[in-house]
């Protein structure tokens, strides 16, 4: 049976959906359940990576240290992973995470900017971590460009390179073209991270696996930015049914979703007109809640903001553009009225 490694990111990407409000107790409960269910990796960081705690991305209720230490107390078998976006966090944050039990560093850049990750990848490898790298918003570039950037990350020492559909904007053929080319041309493993803005998170993850991806992400109840990620309990069930070996206990992962995460959710995770607009316009999923906040100040249709951001090819991390664009649309409509 072909093995697929699953990294759960409820405690990282899922953090967006609870406005970075996890307490140490939330972390202990969720990490323990994931560890017992048998996922390969458990990612724990601010939604925007280590040191994401900021005005730009939102303050977290607890520090990265507190959450990592809480997980370390309960995780026995799974590997603890952390996310780092160069430009936001630094190598100092990775060293801190190692002290608190991190075994996997996930280093993420925009799909065209792989060369800003060299110092972080090299140091993480030198310190004995497994290194998984992310090429974010991969839908924005052609497969050949994605490959060129992936090769840079491979040359720095990455163990696994992910095609990341940060905007949930890809259709299965987009996934196949990118993952397939990377699998064919790289020497390292290929992974995939989905968002559900077009309702394709499970289908796209399957397409990636069929093209040779061997490491994939999911979250309990699909908790994540935008319309969420691939629901990990569904992913495990589907992969098990097809005949892949994920090493995850289906009942236990279902229980973790239903009994621990669902009661913790502060709002239903649905594909509504705003999250659908993210996928349609190709906008970074974590912009969603920031957009809702912006329209409280400048009352315009959130879809207009997201479509405009898509047109301007705004990249991950540019959350400050949301208020700028909201203000611009507001002023324009006010003048017309």
């Amino acid at each position: 049976m072909k093995k697929i490694r699953i990294v759960d990111t409820t405690l990282r990407d899922g953090s967006h959906a609870v406005r970075h409000g996890y307490t140490a107790e939330d972390v202990r409960n969720i990490a323990k359940a994931l560890d017992e269910a048998g996922v390969y990796g458990i990612e724990i960081s601010h939604g925007d990576g280590l040191a994401g705690h900021s005005i730009q991305y939102g303050y977290a209720a607890t520090s990265d240290e507190v959450r990592l230490s809480a997980a370390k107390e309960v995780v026995k078998n799974s590997k603890i992973a952390v996310l780092l976006l160069p430009g936001i966090g630094t190598r100092v944050d990775i060293k801190m995470a190692i002290e608190h039990g991190a075994k996997i560093a996930r280093i993420a850049t925009h799909v065209t900017e792989a060369d800003i990750s060299e110092q972080h990848i090299c140091m993480s490898k030198d310190l004995g971590l497994e290194v998984i790298t992310f090429l974010m918003l991969a839908h924005m570039e052609k497969p050949e460009k994605v490959l060129e950037q992936a090769k840079l990350m491979q040359s720095y020492g990455a163990d696994v390179i992910y095609v990341v559909d940060s905007a949930g904007a890809m259709i299965p053929d987009d996934v196949r073209a990118r993952v397939g080319l990377l699998k064919e041309k790289l020497d390292v493993e290929v992974g995939f991270h989905a968002h559900n803005n077009l309702g394709l998170s499970i289908g796209n993850t399957l397409a990636a696996i069929e093209e040779g991806a061997t490491v994939v992400d999911g979250t309990l109840c699909g908790l994540g930015a935008g319309a969420g990620n691939a629901p990990v309990e569904v992913l495990v069930a589907v992969l098990d049914k097809i005949g892949y070996d994920t090493g995850v206990d289906l009942y236990k992962i279902m229980d973790a979703a239903e009994d621990i995460v669902r009661p913790r959710m502060t709002q239903p995770l649905v594909i509504d007109k705003s999250s659908l607009s993210l996928g349609y316009a190709g906008v970074y999923s974590s912009f969603l809640l920031h957009t809702f906040r912006a329209v409280e100040k400048y009352p315009v249709d959130p879809r207009d903001i997201l479509m405009e951001l898509g047109k301007r090819r705004v990249v991950g991390g540019q959350e400050d553009m949301i208020i700028d664009v909201a203000h611009e649309i507001y002023e324009k409509t006010r003048k017309q009225a």
Partner: protein, 297 residues
Amino acid sequence: MSEKKIDVAIIGPGNIGTDLLYKIKKRSKYMNVKAMVGIYETSEGLKRARDMGVGTTSKGIEGLQDFDSIRMAFDATSAAAHVKHAEFLKERGIVAIDLTPASIGPYVCPVVNLDEHLDAPNINLITCGGQATIPIVYAVSRVAKVSYGEIVATIASKSAGPGTRQNIDEFTQTTAKGIEVIGGADRGKAIIILNPAEPPIIMRNTIYTEIEDRVDLDKVKESIEYVISKIREYVPGYRLRLGPIADGNRITTMIEVEGAGDFLPKYAGNLDVETSAAVAIGEKVAEKLVEADKVGV
């Protein structure tokens, strides 16, 4: 009336070094570029300098020995290289204007503390993002107690050279420190985003500050407008985009920086703000040297 000028050198004939050369040649009253220092005889930058009638050497910093009139040198190489250059320059009494993140000398941002370190043997420019954003943190600090300053600098991918890319941690760390030391915030944080959109975007920055007491937005606004008018004296393309907006004790200000387009393209406001600041500092130091020469000290 022609003022006497002092001879200066530029170390590093890349895009930054060449932009410095253009700026000084075009506008400087007190500086004359005598030498461009590189390490490759065939480099484009050295050729351009020669075509403009500037002396060149491809022997690196040691090559400066052939130019004994040099009083000041702009270093546009790398932090590691500057550590070596700084020693060489200091031994010979040449003032170093350091555009790398080496941070050997004190941080200077012209609009904040230009006059404080005119006698320093080595002056550091912090980072390009710092030159663009720290003045706004400072503007708020002038009228309120800033407990936290956070800046987000978004620049065109094309304007980030290999030096910035391979040392992005140094950028965020040095800028954060500058927000505290020069901006006056108790704590600083810096974020940098590279955007590859075509045509390249103009540098835009968001500056968030949290202040201890109630926000007097009119006072903050007035201070920001004053500081921006001062920056525009050396960076004419520095503009307020939005704000200041108050949200509780938090103030958000957005600015954009369009370059002068001397040698660097206009979208690279991030680089222009740094070369312009370096020239502004150099000019002031040079003026002082010229005055001292007159008195015959």
